[in-house]
């Protein structure tokens, strides 16, 4: 073993990142600007709505989709967040989650369809997903900065990397789980590729895809604290500041707010697949 020279993986990676930075920074910065506008706009919009109105609307949605108990929990939980003066931070976090999850759906569902339909794509994408899910977030957090700058955009991009795999995997699974006979039904009545997809496969895969979206939301929330390290504000930012200043109480408050948001989003989206 000693005769084999050490493989300079670290050096190669640095070189690759440098090369990418030099050649693609303009592109990624352009993307970053667009995303930043959208996310900040969404944050500002959510903050601008009167909190009382948000609390009532969320409670009603929870009632409709998840029942009385979750509605009550949403009401009390959100009122508590408002009371401890973490409302704006919460809205910032939710805006980032919405942005990340939307992008995950827009990119993840088509990729899931692709891997379900194409064996080669499946073989290529699956190991990449393993990589995305297990590579420690810190490892790609810092390289994101040269491409996307500091703030919400790299936070959303890194969240994307972490939270997208379940959507791809579960879309793939949902489509593959469509019973063979129903696939044959579609084909034997002369459905085209897209008719198969939109009239048979996606409707039947819907509960599975929604489970993927639910997981994606939860993973996105779990990334907010880590993302705060590169300048994304929100609840994660509060936690991060509290840690740096050893303010245990402040950190705990923000942590509880994250848990409340997580429970509300989880229960509501869990029931999305069942009610309809």
């Amino acid at each position: 073993m000693n005769n084999i020279p050490r493989i300079p993986l670290a050096k190669w990676t640095d070189m690759a990142i440098d090369w990418l930075t030099v050649n693609y920074q303009n592109t990624t910065q352009a993307i970053s600007d667009v995303l930043k506008g959208a996310i900040v706009g969404l944050q500002d919009f959510l903050i601008s709505i009167p909190p009382e109105l948000v609390i009532i609307v969320v409670a009603l949605i929870a009632w409709w989709l998840a029942g009385k108990r979750i509605a009550l929990f949403s009401l009390v939980g959100l009122a508590f967040i408002y009371n401890i003066q973490l409302w704006n931070e919460t809205m910032q976090t939710i805006a980032m989650v919405i942005a990340a999850v939307s992008l995950c759906i827009i990119i993840g569902v088509p990729l899931g369809i692709l891997t379900a339909k194409n064996m080669t794509a499946h073989r290529i994408i699956t190991p990449i997903l393993d990589f995305m899910q297990t590579l420690p977030a810190f490892v790609y957090l810092l390289p994101a900065i040269p491409f996307f700058g500091l703030g919400v955009v790299p936070a959303v991009i890194t969240t994307l990397i972490f939270a997208m795999p379940p959507i791809i995997r579960l879309t793939d699974l949902g489509i593959k789980q469509v019973p063979e006979e129903l696939v044959e039904l579609g084909k034997s009545f002369g459905s085209t590729f897209f008719q198969m997809l939109f009239k048979i496969e996606l409707p039947l895969a819907r509960p599975t895809i929604l489970a993927g979206i639910n997981q994606c939301i939860m993973l996105s929330l779990s990334m907010v604290v880590i993302a705060a390290m590169i300048g994304a504000k929100g609840l994660g930012g509060v936690v991060w500041t509290a840690i740096q200043n050893l303010k245990m109480g402040m950190g705990f408050e923000a942590g509880v707010a994250i848990v409340i948001i997580a429970i509300i989003l989880d229960r509501i989206t869990q029931n999305l697949g069942k009610t309809n």
């Binding site: 019973p179 006979e181 129903l182 044959e184 039904l185 084909k187 034997s188 009545f189 002369g190 459905s191 085209t192 008719q195 009239k199 048979i200 409707p203 039947l204 819907r206």
Partner: protein, 398 residues
């Protein structure tokens, strides 16, 4: 008119079929091919043709290749070799666009486990074929409703599949296949998942629908009783090959191989056999102008106690008993008038034997088999019936 022709269709499963195909052509058996090439032969060299309006049943046990063969017809499975002709057009050669058109307009499929979409209402399920054709909702709804009524499901339009029993679900499946008004119905064990009683109802209903619509039906089953009931002709498959094709009675009465013979051994023959298949020729008949003496002589020659009387065209009039003929002869009567009995038990040539067993058990005279014009076609005697039920065909004398 020939509607569908399947010519030398072979399907080999695997990713290297050339070698296996060579072995198929050399006639080596499936097991050898599998051992040498790891390829599985699904269907080998199947050929048959189906007339327009015919019900053609493909029967075999599971694994015999019958479902594969059915799927080769609408190209859900691409055959490795061979051709499928629909109205003379080779389906193995059409473009994928043409194939979609053909599947949309000319073929309907019915599935073993119904294959209803759980997220759609019954009406939307029935309208699926029309929907993919891009037909406007209004027309679609109307046609789908019509098809639903045909299978007796009026009023169920807005329910979901899980609200319906198995039998009803399969009616929906049939309605869906009929809604596009295709020429050919491909039915893949449509009644196998149903309870026996429901299954029989559905069979009867299919026969009723078929009487009205005259579709060309390719029907897959593993149940011989069902095959005999539905099929105008039956193809029997074993180990990926068609081992016999024939009308139901050919299969029962002259099985082409031991395998077929064993297959048909346990079938309830009384349902499958018709009067015409077990009747014997009416060799001894008399005409009204014949005198009682002539009648007596014929009975004597054939060793029977009564004889049928027919008119010049061969239409049945009645029968004469030996004792009546003897009495009339003694009285010096010259004609049979007056001693002809009219209470003849009769059967039509296509009456199933199961409906005649009762009559046969109690009658003292043979049962006359007649056609719609009352022409005497044959005679049922107990000996020939029992032989038929036992699976033998022998020319019986009365």
């Amino acid at each position: 008119m020939e509607k569908l022709k399947v010519s030398n269709v072979t399907k080999i499963y695997g990713n290297n079929t050339d070698k296996a195909m060579e072995m198929v052509l050399k006639g080596e058996d499936n097991e050898q091919i599998r051992a040498k090439t790891k390829q599985v032969v699904g269907v080998r060299e199947a050929s048959f043709s189906v007339e327009e309006g015919e019900s053609f049943v493909i029967m075999g046990l599971s694994g015999s290749g019958k479902s594969t063969l059915l799927r080769c017809i609408n190209q859900l499975i691409k055959p490795t070799a061979g051709h499928i002709y629909l109205d003379g057009q080779d389906l193995t050669k059409v473009s994928s666009q043409e194939l979609i058109e053909i599947r949309r307009k000319r073929m309907g499929m019915v599935f073993q486990r119904f294959a209803l979409l759980p997220n759609r209402t019954i009406l939307e399920n029935v309208g699926y074929g029309l929907e993919v054709q891009g037909i406007a909702r209004k027309v679609r709804t109307e046609q789908a409703k019509k098809a639903l009524h045909m299978v007796g499901l009026k009023g169920w339009e807005d329910y979901y599949p899980h609200n319906l029993s198995g039998g009803m679900q399969q009616r929906v499946g049939i309605a869906r296949a009929l809604a596009t008004n295709p020429d050919i119905l491909l039915m893949d064990e449509p009644f196998s998942a149903l309870d026996p009683l429901i299954r029989q109802d559905m069979q009867d209903e299919l026969l009723e629908i078929q009487k009205k619509l005259h579709k060309t039906i390719i029907f897959i089953t593993h149940d011989l009783d069902e095959a005999l009931k539905i099929g105008d002709r039956i193809a029997l498959m074993k180990d990926a090959r068609i081992v016999q094709i024939g009308e139901p009675e050919d299969i029962l009465l002259s099985p082409a191989s031991d395998y077929v013979a064993r297959f048909v051994e346990n079938v309830n023959r009384s349902k499958a056999l018709t009067a015409s298949s077990v009747m014997v020729k009416p060799r001894s008949v008399v005409y009204p102008k014949d005198g009682p003496r002539a009648a007596l002589r014929i009975m004597e020659v054939h060793g029977i106690s009564s004889v049928f009387v027919v008119d010049r065209k061969g239409a049945l009039i009645g029968y004469v008993r030996a004792e009546d003929a003897a009495e009339a002869a003694e009285k010096g009567q010259r004609e049979l008038d007056g001693i002809i009995q009219n209470d003849v038990p009769t059967a039509f040539d296509d009456t199933p034997l199961s409906e005649l067993l009762d009559v046969l058990a109690y009658t003292k005279v043979p049962v006359a088999v007649i056609d719609e014009e009352k022409i005497l076609k044959g005679v049922l005697v107990r000996g020939s019936v029992i032989a038929g039920l036992a699976g033998e065909r022998r020319d019986w004398d009365e």
